[in-house]
């Protein structure tokens, strides 16, 4: 996609400079993300889950040689909980972001391609949902549903994950449907669905990919928010659940920093990683930003 012909004023030397910069962001983001995934997967192979059983270690022990990151007041090793909590955290994001992107991108394609009342309906509804503080609506749902599985929580979060992909895919579809190859397909008698999925969608994949990463990040953010408020999935340990139990036990005022600080750092790095990846994908797909960089 990183074609240089899109920005006429770009000099070859500057183009290489810009590509190097895009790659640098992407490399850093991907490396961080892979590091976090490795922490969750390889960690599982190296460390047994025995350490996070109740009373497995001393209670509320500060970090030391024996237990690298200390323990919570129930004697569970913070490091072991983090290792086993990382993948579920990512899974929520993948499910919620995946559903949101598939639903959103399909709606965006259909709305942008057909226009008219369908388009009005989809884009007004998406715009309305974008202005609603989604976390608060999720709170109402989750407070009645009580403890739920990771999958249920992801599905609920996905309800608010589709508007962004729908919006971005719709606007790209609008500008694409007049292109020659789409006209060509229409004239050769292709059906609407065939045009949408064979002519339009492949060209929109970069935008869909950007939306997906953004939705994964949004999904994780919503799940962290819910769990920090004491809602959502309450049994399977995730990074956010560690934070939430630290809060409800007043870990902040009790000075048990090793309980909440390490999961905070991993979550922060995770969001930064996903953000850097979206940023580089954005720069690679948005000709305006590219031109701005090159100018």
């Amino acid at each position: 996609m990183a074609s240089t012909t899109l920005s006429p004023q770009a000099q070859p030397a500057e183009t290489t400079r810009r590509l190097a910069r895009v790659n640098w962001t992407l490399v850093l983001g991907t490396a961080l993300l892979l590091g976090i995934i490795a922490f969750g997967t390889i960690g599982r192979l190296l460390v047994s889950r025995e350490g996070m059983k109740l009373g497995a270690n001393d209670f509320a022990a500060p970090p030391g040689a024996q237990i690298p990151l200390g323990t919570d007041p129930a004697g569970r090793s913070v490091l072991v909980m983090m290792i086993y909590g990382t993948l579920p955290t990512l899974t929520i994001g993948l499910i919620a972001g995946g559903i949101g992107t598939i639903v959103g991108a399909s709606l965006g394609l259909v709305a942008g391609y057909y226009g008219g009342p369908i388009d009005t309906l989809v884009h007004s509804f998406a715009d309305i949902l974008l202005g609603v503080p989604s976390l608060l609506v999720l709170v109402v749902l989750a407070s009645y549903l009580g403890d739920m599985s990771i999958a249920t929580m992801s599905a609920i979060i996905a309800f608010f994950a589709w508007p962004w992909p729908a919006r971005s895919v719709r606007s790209q579809t609008l500008s694409m449907r007049e292109l020659a190859h789409v006209e060509m397909a229409k004239l050769s008698g292709c059906g609407d669905l065939e045009i949408i999925f064979r002519e339009l969608m492949p060209n929109l994949l970069p935008y869909i990919a950007t939306s997906f990463v953004r939705s994964v990040s949004g999904g994780i953010m919503a799940s962290v928010g819910l769990q920090m408020l004491g809602l959502g999935s309450l049994t399977l340990i995730t990074l956010a659940l560690m934070l939430s139990s630290a809060f409800s036990s007043a870990a902040l005022t009790r000075g048990l920093w090793w309980w909440w600080f390490p999961p905070t750092v991993v979550l922060t790095l995770l969001f930064v990683a996903l953000f850097l990846i979206t940023l580089s994908l954005d720069e690679a797909t948005n000709p305006r930003l590219k031109a701005a960089r090159a100018a």
Binding site: G131, P133, V137, V139, G225, M228, F271, F275, R288
Partner: protein, 336 residues
């Protein structure tokens, strides 16, 4: 100068009412669709402890009357909407004699004060920073200045808040890590007491400003880039106008306008994010009340708070949308 057509106004108003109606209806539907009938469970739980709890019978009565559990769903729904229109959310289940609206009323000034200050500050600073970075793009010093804010934009408010608590409250002991006053001190309208409150509010405010600044900066920068491509800017430069004048009055001024519309959308995120910041700092605003209500399974309070917040954000967006055409003479909304 009024460029808002009647049809645009009506359409915006309908969207506003739709959002509130949908949020209220969700509040009505969820308890009835949820598995295990929590309404009955709540009533059962309250009847069990009713004789021991002061005023328990009255809550059950008010609950029954409010939801009219013996009536048909349609009648219940209409009665419920009537109550919502009057902002009547009933009694708090956890702290009984208090009505939901009283609790919200006590907490609201804290949240409004925090959000208003931080939103205005981060909007203003973000716009200035974004405009500056776009104007001087390519200079290494400027890029280095901008980079940390870009990264901060990726971090949710509450995580940044926790990092700040770790660094500034525990590490350096500069700020208190929660609450609004020193322990034991009471809230008064005196200078020391107010300074104490300010001191306690700085860290929550700082975490919201720092993490929302970057997003604003990025979007202002891309808007500036767009404006700087336009012909009238080339003309302004060709006329030999001073650089600073071109920057402030030709480029930045035009790039700010679209930012105001995105301010509306970002308000929803600010409201959600600030809720958790309040939880982190035990800041006695509406978000902290929500956290406590969830802990106490106080469904009336949860519904009241979420609905009030949805209404506030929807109102803010409505006002922004109606003000916007007046600010930008290029925009006309006189029908389609």
């Amino acid at each position: 100068m009024t460029r808002i057509g009647a049809s645009y106004f009506v359409r915006r108003l309908l969207v506003f009412l739709f959002v509130i109606w949908a949020a209220a209806s969700l509040n009505f539907l969820v308890p009835r669709l949820a598995p295990g009938d929590p309404m009955a469970a709540t009533l059962a739980r309250m009847s069990m402890s009713g004789d021991r709890m002061e005023g328990g019978a009255e809550i059950i009565e008010s609950y029954r009357a409010r939801f009219g559990l013996d009536q048909s769903l349609g009648v219940q729904y209409l009665k419920y909407l009537g109550a919502v229109v009057r902002f009547d959310f009933g009694y708090s289940l956890a702290s009984f004699p208090a009505r939901v609206l009283e609790i919200i009323g006590r907490a609201l000034p804290w949240t409004v004060g925090l959000l208003l200050t931080t939103t205005i500050l981060s909007f203003g600073l973000g716009i200035l920073l974004g405009a500056f970075v776009a104007w001087r793009s390519g200079e290494t010093a400027v890029e280095i200045l901008a980079a940390p804010f870009v990264v901060l934009a990726a971090i949710p408010y509450y995580l940044l808040a926790l990092l700040l608590v770790y660094a500034l409250a525990f590490g350096l002991d500069l700020f208190p890590s929660g609450g609004t006053t020193r322990i034991g001190a009471s809230l008064e309208w005196t200078l020391p007491s107010m300074l104490d409150v300010l001191h306690h509010s700085l860290l929550p405010a700082l975490s919201i400003i720092l993490s929302s600044l970057g997003g604003r900066m990025i979007s202002m920068r891309s808007m500036m880039v767009r404006v700087m491509e336009s012909d009238y800017l080339t003309l302004a430069r060709a006329k030999g106008l001073p650089d600073r004048r071109v920057f402030l009055w030709y480029a930045a001024r035009n790039a700010i306008l679209p930012e105001i519309t995105t301010l509306g959308i970002s308000l929803g995120f600010v409201a959600s994010g600030a809720t958790l910041v309040e939880v982190v700092f035990s800041y006695p605003g509406i978000g902290y009340q929500l956290y406590r209500a969830i802990g106490n399974s106080d469904f009336n309070l949860i519904q009241g708070i979420t609905l009030i917040m949805v209404i506030s954000v929807a109102t803010a967006i409505l006002v922004l949308d109606l003000v916007y055409p007046r600010l930008d003479p290029r925009i006309t909304y006189t029908g389609k």
